[in-house]
């Protein structure tokens, strides 16, 4: 079984307050610390676990991004992915969700896969549109919000998180699966894994090598436009007090003042 996992580097959600460049109107990704998307760490771990259960299978990490994205891919390799493909090209800057999916789908088409794994949504852009769009480009069914996945013969079966519980759903392979964030514990790379990662195959692809035109991707291909960037309305500063034993009274007074009791 060939499992392709789509992953990307994002500004570290634990240390960065996301900023927008007023000129390009894009998220600032330079001068901030970048990490493999924590959601994707969970997703790649799900793929590795499935590969090890199935046997005779391979996990390929796929990313579209600037050269710095290779750090995230190295981490995926250290976690246990077998090889990595990075699509990197200056024309890709400013891609929208549609273009991102177009590029990733072209690479998946070229490589061939039985299963494509994505996270339900990324931590930085979080449109959640890329996985479904990849499925549509490839004409495949999409099994979304999986918190468990099983493969039986030529079928994939998932437990899909829904607002009231979960549903068990199945489709034929190949299929695109999205992993609900946090459903799988992230594998922590070992020293041996980190050393081994350096020897694993790492391929780079350009837009032209995928047979795509520069006008179909990046800023040029984007079907949305940011007109203006403004400041979010800040919440009025509240009152912060240290508990001196009267916290319960204080909160109750507050609730009463605003007729919440």
């Amino acid at each position: 079984m060939k499992i392709i996992v789509c992953i990307k580097q994002v500004p570290d959600p634990n240390t960065t307050v996301s900023k927008i460049d007023p000129n390009t109107k894009r998220l600032v990704r330079t001068g901030v610390s970048l990490v493999l998307d924590p959601g994707d760490e969970s997703t790649i771990s799900a793929a590795i676990k499935l590969r090890d259960t199935l046997g005779g299978s391979e996990v390929i990490a796929l990313s579209m991004g600037p050269e710095s994205a290779q750090d995230g891919m190295r981490r995926a390799l250290a976690m246990g992915a077998d090889r990595a493909i990075l699509i990197t090209d200056p024309t890709l800057a400013g891609s929208d969700a549609l273009a991102t999916a177009r590029v990733l789908a072209s690479a998946i088409q070229k490589e061939g896969a039985d299963l494509v794994f994505c996270s339900t949504e990324s931590t930085d852009g979080y449109t959640g549109m890329v996985p479904g769009a990849i499925a549509e480009f490839l004409g495949l069914p999409q099994l979304t919000f999986a918190r468990e996945i099983q493969v039986e013969g030529q079928k994939a079966i998932i437990k899909r998180v829904v607002p009231t519980g979960y549903k068990t759903i199945e489709s034929s392979l190949p299929a695109v699966v999205t992993i609900a964030s946090g459903s799988f514990e992230a594998i922590y790379p070992t020293m041996k894994g980190i050393m081994g990662a350096k020897k694993k195959p790492f391929t780079r692809l350009t837009v032209a090598e995928l047979g795509l035109e520069a006008t179909q991707v990046g800023e040029a291909g984007a079907r949305e436009r940011v007109l203006a960037v403004g400041q979010a309305e800040a919440r009025a500063a509240g009152q912060i007090v240290k508990d001196d034993g009267s916290a319960a009274q204080r909160i109750a007074d507050f609730l009463q003042r605003y007729q919440l009791l």
Binding site: P163, Q231, A248, A252
Partner: protein
């Protein structure tokens, strides 16, 4: 260009879900709202949608959609979009509608803007307000001719009433391709939760990892019960298995907009804030005076949630008595 705005009305147990009615009301204020209803019972529901703003309803009464909405809905909508060229498809951000939007974006080559909190026409141009991160808000648009999609942030709008509005109804017929039925639902499991649903609760008391262990979560439930509200949680403690996913509030959980939100032992990560900072009043209890949750709190208590929660529950009961 037309000012026709389409809203896909999602059904649950044969009834329209609240989030899609909220979006329908917004559409009716912006232009000519037209609703699409797909699933068993669609024909019966169609006329009732006038009261929520629909001037026209496309109804396809077919149980195929109830099994698995995404693929059959994409097929139907894609054909309708080509035929009628609405100005905009306005969708609530729900599990299924998100999946549907992603495929339609590709199939019909549509521009798509997600996470909108507001939108308006300025002349011919549609202007969409989208918060980006904690600090910024951007105005975006679809610069091209033809339909576009906007997905709206949960709870951005409230339900509107349009008394006496009777929609024109167009009944859809026809079957589905084999591809549209590629996904089978094998079974469906409901995880029961007690008290008011989080989405509807006017008071929510939430707990995080600061509670120390699962056995302490009852302190949150007891305060929620005393206040007549619902208990919620951060992803950290849902992932740790203390509670089912249905309790999770935040970017990848539920978006809530209660009058009062009490956060106990919650750090206030941006992904958690995304789901709750629309609350009218926020009270936070955290041991760490630098916890980011305090930046959104109207009242912040630097202290131990394990001692304060039971004291507060007792105090609330005393004052209510």
């Amino acid at each position: 260009m037309s000012n026709i705005i389409w809203v896909l009305v999602e059904l649950e147990n044969g009834q329209p879900v609240r989030s899609t009615l909220e979006v329908l009301g917004k559409a009716a204020k912006l232009g000519r709202a037209e609703a699409i209803v797909l699933g068993a019972g669609a024909a019966a529901i169609a006329p009732t949608l006038g009261a929520y703003g629909a001037e026209k309803v496309y109804a396809h009464d077919d149980a195929t959609y109830d099994n698995y909405l995404t693929l059959p809905a994409v097929e139907t909508l894609s054909t309708l979009i080509n035929e009628h060229q609405p100005r905009l498809l306005l969708l609530a951000t729900t599990y299924d509608l998100r999946d549907i939007a992603a495929r339609l974006m590709v199939r019909n080559n549509l521009g798509l803007i997600t996470d909108a909190t507001d939108l308006a026409f300025e002349g011919e141009e549609i202007r969409v307000t989208v918060p980006w991160g904690g600090e910024n808000v951007v105005t975006a648009t679809h610069p091209y001719q033809g339909p576009g999609i906007v997905l709206t942030r949960p709870k951005a709008f409230s339900i509107e009433q349009f008394e006496g509005r009777t929609p024109e109804i167009e009944t859809l017929n026809g079957g589905f391709s084999a591809e549209a039925q590629a996904i089978k639902v094998i079974d469906s499991v409901e995880v029961a939760s007690e008290g008011p649903a989080l989405e509807d609760a006017s008071v929510i008391v939430s707990g995080g990892r600061g509670l120390g262990k699962a056995e302490n979560y009852h302190l949150v439930e007891e305060l929620a019960a005393a206040l007549g509200g619902a208990p919620g949680a951060t992803r950290a403690i849902v992932d740790a298995g203390w509670l089912p996913y249905s309790y999770q509030i935040g970017q990848t959980g539920k978006t809530v907009k209660p009058t009062l939100y009490v956060a106990a032992g919650i750090s206030g990560a941006i992904q958690h804030l995304a789901g709750m900072k629309g609350a009218k009043y926020i009270v936070a209890i955290n041991k760490d005076e630098n916890a980011p949750i305090f930046s959104v709190a109207d009242l912040g208590i630097v202290g131990d949630a394990l001692t304060i929660l039971p004291q507060l529950t007792a105090e609330v009961k005393r004052r209510k008595a």
